[in-house]
Symmetry: D2
Subunit: 408 residues, 4 copies
C-alpha cells in the first residue's frame, strides 16, 4: 500500500482520536479530514470542531453530522425486523452503528478527494473488521489506516508522551487509565475491559450508565403501547413519532425502569471470547414489542423461517458484513415477511423487565372462532386432525416396522 495523501478520520474529539489525528499528520504527512457523527451517544459535538481546528484541520475538512434518524431508520429498524440477537442475547448495538460511520467516511472521502480512511479501533476487536469491511465493500480502492495496529504507542505512558509532545490537551480525568472502555449510541451503551475482564466476578454497579439499577427503579409498573407498521415502530402511546424519536422515548422509559441490562461473554469474530456489559433500554422494549406484534400478524411458516435464519443474519451484522450480498438477501427475505406486521402492543415495564401483556391488529391472523373452547360453528372439524396425525405418523410407523423387522 502506498502512503495515503488525504485521510478521512472517524473523529470523536476525545484524546485517543486526537492522538490519531496528529499521528496521521506526522507519520504520513497527509491531510486529515475529520468526521464526527451524532449517533445519539449523548455527547456535545461542537467541542470536537474546536479541537479539530486547534489541531490544524481546515474548516472545510471538518464534518460534523447528526445521523440519528438515518441510523435508526436505515440500520436499527431493518435489523429489528429480524428480531436479531447475537448468541441468543446481544442486541448488536455497537455492530449496527459501524457500517453507517464507515459509509460516511467513504462518502466524504469521495467528496473531498481523499484516498484513505482511518479509525480508532484496536486490532483485537470486532470494530476494526466492521469499519474496514464496509469501507472496502463501498470503495474497493480505498486505503484503510488502523493506527492501533501500526504504531508503537503501545502503552498509556507512550500515548500521553506523544500527546504532550504534540500539544494535544489532556483532560485531567484522562491522565489515569479508565477503569473500563465505553461505546455508546442511540441503541445502546457497551462497557468492557479492565475491571470487567474477569467474567467470574459480578460487574460493579458503577459500570451501568444508562439504566437505573432495577432495585432502585419505580415500585409501580408502567405500561407503554407501541404501534407498528410493516414491522417498524411508528407511534408510542398513540403519538406518531420519527424513528429516532421513538427510540429516544423508549430509552427514557427503559432506562427509568432498569430495562435492558446484559452481562455477556461473547465470541468475537477474531477468535477470542470477551465479556461485555450492555445496556439497551429502548431496544429491549422494542424487541419484546416486535415479537408481540408478530405473534398475531405473522404466519407460522413465515415466522419459523425467519427464526431459522436469524442467527445467521445476526452473525453477519456482528462480523461486519452489513454491506454484503448475503445480508441483503436475508434482508429481502425478512422485509418480505413484514408486509402485515402492523398493529399495537402493550408492554409492561417493571424493575428491569419488559413483558408483552396484550396485542391487537387489523392484520391479525389470530382467529378466536377457530381456537375457542366453545362451540365453533363448524370453523374447524376436529375429525380432520385424525387424518392429519395419521399421515404425519405414517413414516414413523414405517420406521418402527422396519426396525422391528431387522432386529427381530
Amino acid at each position: 500500500m502506498s502512503a495515503p495523501k488525504k485521510v478521512v478520520l472517524a473523529y470523536s474529539g476525545g484524546l485517543d482520536t486526537s492522538i490519531i489525528l496528529k499521528w496521521l499528520q506526522t507519520e504520513y504527512g497527509c491531510e486529515v479530514v475529520t468526521f464526527t457523527a451524532d449517533l445519539g451517544q449523548g455527547e456535545e459535538l461542537e467541542p470536537a470542531r474546536e479541537k479539530a481546528v486547534m489541531l490544524g484541520i481546515k474548516p472545510e475538512n471538518i464534518f460534523i453530522e447528526d445521523v440519528r434518524e438515518e441510523f435508526v431508520r436505515d440500520f436499527v429498524f431493518p435489523m429489528f425486523r429480524a428480531n436479531a440477537l447475537y448468541e441468543g442475547l446481544y442486541l448488536l448495538g455497537t455492530s449496527i452503528a459501524r457500517p453507517l460511520i464507515a459509509k460516511r467516511l467513504v462518502e466524504i472521502a469521495a467528496q473531498t478527494g481523499a484516498d484513505a480512511v482511518a479509525h480508532g479501533a484496536t486490532g483485537k476487536g470486532n470494530d476494526q473488521v466492521r469499519f474496514e469491511l464496509t469501507a472496502y465493500a463501498l470503495d474497493p480502492a480505498i486505503k484503510v489506516i488502523a493506527p492501533w495496529r501500526e504504531w508503537d504507542l503501545t502503552s498509556r505512558t507512550k500515548l500521553l508522551e506523544f500527546a504532550e509532545q504534540n500539544q494535544i490537551p489532556i483532560a485531567k480525568n484522562k491522565r489515569g487509565e479508565a477503569p473500563f472502555s465505553v461505546d455508546a449510541n442511540l441503541l445502546h451503551t457497551s462497557s468492557e475491559g479492565r475491571v470487567l475482564e474477569n467474567p467470574g466476578e459480578e460487574a460493579p454497579d458503577y459500570v451501568y450508565q444508562r439504566t437505573v439499577d432495577p432495585e432502585k427503579a419505580p415500585d409501580a409498573p408502567e405500561f407503554v403501547e407501541i404501534a407498528f407498521e410493516k414491522g417498524d415502530a411508528v407511534a408510542i402511546n398513540g403519538e406518531a413519532m420519527s424513528p429516532a424519536t421513538i427510540l429516544t422515548k423508549l430509552n427514557e422509559l427503559g432506562g427509568k425502569h432498569g430495562v435492558g441490562r446484559l452481562d455477556l461473554v461473547e465470541n468475537r469474530f477474531v477468535g477470542m471470547k470477551s465479556r461485555g456489559i450492555y445496556e439497551t433500554p429502548g431496544g429491549t422494549i422494542l424487541l419484546e414489542a416486535h415479537r408481540g406484534i408478530e405473534q398475531i400478524t405473522l404466519d407460522s411458516g413465515a415466522g419459523h423461517l425467519k427464526d431459522s435464519i436469524m442467527p445467521r443474519y445476526a452473525e453477519l451484522i456482528y462480523n461486519g458484513f452489513w454491506y454484503s450480498p448475503e445480508r441483503e438477501m436475508l434482508q429481502a427475505l425478512i422485509d418480505k415477511s413484514q408486509e402485515h406486521v402492523t398493529g399495537t402492543v402493550r408492554v409492561k415495564l417493571y424493575k428491569g423487565f419488559a413483558r408483552t401483556v396484550a396485542r391487537w391488529s387489523e392484520h391479525s391472523l389470530y382467529s378466536e372462532k377457530h381456537v375457542t373452547f366453545e362451540e365453533d360453528a363448524g370453523a374447524y372439524d376436529q375429525k380432520d386432525a385424525a387424518g392429519f396425525i395419521r399421515l404425519n405418523a405414517l413414516r414413523l410407523k414405517l420406521i418402527a416396522t422396519r426396525n422391528a423387522r431387522v432386529k427381530g
Copy 2:
C-alpha cells in the same frame, strides 16, 4: 380400525378422564387400564386409584407412577442442552411431557396385552399430535383412541349428563365451566382458553398459579449458583442433587421471585394461533444459567451451529416428533457439543427476572491473556488482523469492482 379390546388410558382421576374411562367401557365394551403419572403437577395421585377402582377398573389394571426423575433426566435436561425455545420464547413445558406419558402408555399396553391407548386431548390442540405420534412411533400396530374427536359429548351440559347417568362423581367446583384450562408438570404450568382467548386483553392475575406477582416478590434480590456437568445441572449452591430435585429447588426460587411468566400467542401445529400463559420458574433460571456456562465453555463454531439448528429442534418437540430420527440426529449433535459444558453460574433473581452475573469453569475457553486491554506478552499479534480483514474483504472488493464496471 377394528374395535379395541383393551385400552390403556392416560388417567388423571379428574372428571374429564373419568368420563372418558366410562365412555370407553360403554362405547367399545373394552377393558380399561389406567395410567396415572406423577410428573410434578402437584396433585395427589392416590385419589386417582380410588376413583379408578370405583369406576370398575381391576387393581392390576391401575398403574400409578412417579416419573419425575425420568422426566427431568431423559426429557427436560436433554432439551435444555439445546437452549430450546419455540418461537423465540416458549420453553416447551407441555410439549416435552407428552412423549414420556405416551411412551409409558405403549409400554403398559405391551405389558398388559392391550391393543389400544387413549388420551383426553382435544382435536384442536397439539397434545393429541404429541401423544399419537409417540404411540405410533413406538408401536406401529397400536390403536389410538381420542374420544374428544369421536364422541358427541360436545357441550358441558352433555358431559355432565353423561357423568350423572354413569354415576361419576362431580366435584362441586366442576359443575361450572372453569374460566381457563390448565396443564402442569415439574417444568411448567400453562393456562389457556376462555378468559384468555382475547390476546388484546391482559391476563387477569388469578390465572398465575405458580409464581408470585413480581410486584409482590421480595424487595431484595437473591443469588443462586448452579453447577453444570456436560451441559446438565448437577448442583445448587454447592449441593449436589438429582435432576428432579434440582428443578424442584429452582421452581421454589423462581416462584418466590416471580420468575418465568410468559404471555404468548403461538402457532399450533394444527394451523391456528392460540394464546397461552406460561409459568416456568425453574426452567427460566435453568435456561439463563445454561447459556451463562456455555458462554465461557462453548466455542463459537459449536455455539453458532447449535443456535442455527435450535429453532428446528424446538419445532420438532413442539410438534410431537420427540421420537423421530431427525430429533435424535439433532440430539446427537447437541450432546456432542456439551462435553465441556461444565462449570458454575451465578444468577441473580429479582422481581420477575433472572440474570447471569458471573460464571467460572475449569473448562473455560475465555482467555484473559488474549482479550486484555493491557500488554498481552505476544499472545495475540494485532497485525494478524490486517490480513484477516483483507482476505475477508477480498470478495466484497471484487463485487464492488464488478458493480462499478457494469454500471459504468
Copy 3:
C-alpha cells in the same frame, strides 16, 4: 361442507377425468365447468372440447388455454433461479405445474361463479396436496372435491362399468390397465406405478418416452450456448427466445442426446416412499447452465446462502406450498441474488450427460489477476494469508489448550 353447486374441473379429456366429470354431475347434480391447459404435455387439446360438449358441458363452461409461456416464465424460471432439487436429484417437474393449474381453476371459479373446484389426483399422492393447498390459499372459501378420495369406483372394473353406464366412450387401448402412470408437461415426463413399483428392478426401456436411450444417442457430442439475464435463460446459441421456446428447444436437444433421465425413490409428503422415472431433458441442461453462470457471477456469500436454503425451498414446492409466505420470502432472497447472474454458458451434450465446459460474462467476479500462478502485480499479498489463518485458528488453539488442560 355443503354440496357444491358449480364445479370447475381440471379436465384432460381423457377417460379418468371424463368419468369424474360425469360423476360430479350425477353425484352432486352440479353444473360442471372444464379447464384444460396446454402445459406442453404434447397432446391435442381440441378433442377435450368435443368430449366435454358431448358430456353435456355448455360451450361457455369450456375453458381451453395455452399456458406454456406463463408456466415457464412465472413458475419454472423462478424455481430454476434456486437450482432447486428435491432430495438432491429431482427437478420438481410435476410439483411446479400444479399451482398454476389450481390457480386457474380458482380464477375461473371466480369468473364463472362456481363455488368448488375438482381434480383427478388420488388420495395417496402429492398432487392432491398441491392442488388443494393452492386452491385454499387463493380462495379460502372454495370447496375442493377430490373424487378419488370419495367415490366407490375403487377398481378398474368399476370405473369401466361406470363409463359404460354413462355413455363415456372408452378408447380401445384404455380397456386394459396401463403398465404405468404418466404425467407430462413442458418441463418433464414422469412415470410411476405398476411395472415400476419394485425399486430393485431396473425400469424397462419402454417407460422412457421423451429421451432417447443414451446408447442410441448420436456418437458425436453437441454444444449449446445458453445466455442468461438476471438468472433467467434468454437466448440459445445467440438467438433470443421466449421462455417456453427456450425450454422447448432445450428439450429437443436434451431428448436427442438422452439427457435428463432419473430413476428415483423419493419421499412423498403424505409419508410413503415412491419410485419414479423422470425425464427432464431441457431442465437438466438448464440447471447445469445456470450453475455454470452462477459460478462466475455469484459471490460465495450469496451462493452459499442460496445453497443452504435450497433444500427447504425445494421441499416447499414439492409439498405444494408455492403460494405460502415462506416460499415467497425465499423467492425474494433468491431473486435478490440473481441481479448479476447474466452471461453465457457453453454446455456439452453427449450420451446422456450435459456438462458445462465454458462460461463468460461482463458481470464476472472471476479475477484472473488475483488467481494467477504468475506474477500478480500486487493484486494479492500472500502475507495476508498468514494473519487470516492465524485468526481463524485462534479459537481452535484455545480449544486444544483447554482440552489438554482438563485432561492433563
Copy 4:
C-alpha cells in the same frame, strides 16, 4: 515467532518440496524431518527417500507411510455419508486429504521432538489454510512454516537458480513451467492454473489424466453392484473389500467409462474464484450409489435434515475445519442417520455417466403395500389425506382471509 529448531516437512520428493527442504536448512539452520505419504496419488515413494538422504536428511528423520486405508476409512467414507458436495458439484477430493497429512506432521513432530511443521502450499490457495488449521487444532503450540508466503523465490527462474546453487537435481521436464498444476490422491485428481485460467475456454483434453474421454469409453455399458453397511461401502459385486480397495476398484471402473469429470469455477476460502478440472471417477460412483441406498433406507425427516446441513458440512471441510467442534457435531448427526443405511445398489456406467438403476435392502422403508396403485387392503386410508390437507391449509386460509379483509 521464534526461529524453529526442528521442522517436519510434508515432502513429496519433487523439485518444489526439495527446494523447500534445502531452504529450511539454510534459512533457519534447522534440522528437517520429512514425511512422505502414499495417499494413492500413484507415485513411487522410495525415490523420495533417496532424495531426502541425498539432501542430508538423517535416515531416522525420514518417514514414508502408506496411509491409504486410513485416508478412505477415517476421512473419505465419513464425508461420503453426508453426500457432501461443495457448491453443488465438487467432491472435495483435495480438501479431505489435507487434514490427514497435517495430523501426521503434528504426530511426527511430537514423536521426533520437532517444534514446527512446514508445507509447500502457496499463499493464494485453500491448502495452506487446511494444513495450518489442522496443525494448530492438534497442537496449539506448534510453529507452522509456509515458505511460499515467506521467501523471495517468487519466479521460476529464481527457484531454479536456488536449486542449482544447492545441488538439487532438476529433472529435464521440470526446467520449463508445467502447463498446469496437479494434485492427486485416491479420491481424485485436480488440475488448475495456467492453461486453465480462462474459464471461458474449454479445458484441453490433455489435462485429463485419470479418466478416459467419454467419447473413447466403451460402447457397452457396465453395471456395478455396491453393498453398504451403515452408510459405508463394504463390497463390490458381492466381494467384500477394504475401504481403500473399494475406492481403488471404483476408480478403475469409473476411469474406464470416463465417469467423474468436472469443470468448475469455485470460491476459495481466501476470497477469490478459481477454476479447476476435477476427476473423481470412483467417488462419483460412490456418491450416486450412496444416494441410491439412502433413497430406500433413510426416512424423509432424516434425509431432509441431512440435506439441509450438508452445504455447511461441505464448506467446513473445504475451508479446512475438519478438526473443529462444529464438523464433529455435524458428523455425530450424520453418523446417527446412517444406522440403517445398509443394502445394495446397482449402478450403470456409460460414457461418462453413473446412474442408479436399482437398489434393495433388508432395511428398506419402501412399502409397496402402501404405495401400490392396486388395492392396498387397508394399508392406507385415502380419506386421511383430506384431514391432512385441510389442517395444512388452515394457516393459508387464515392468511387469505386476513389479506382480503385488510385490502377490502
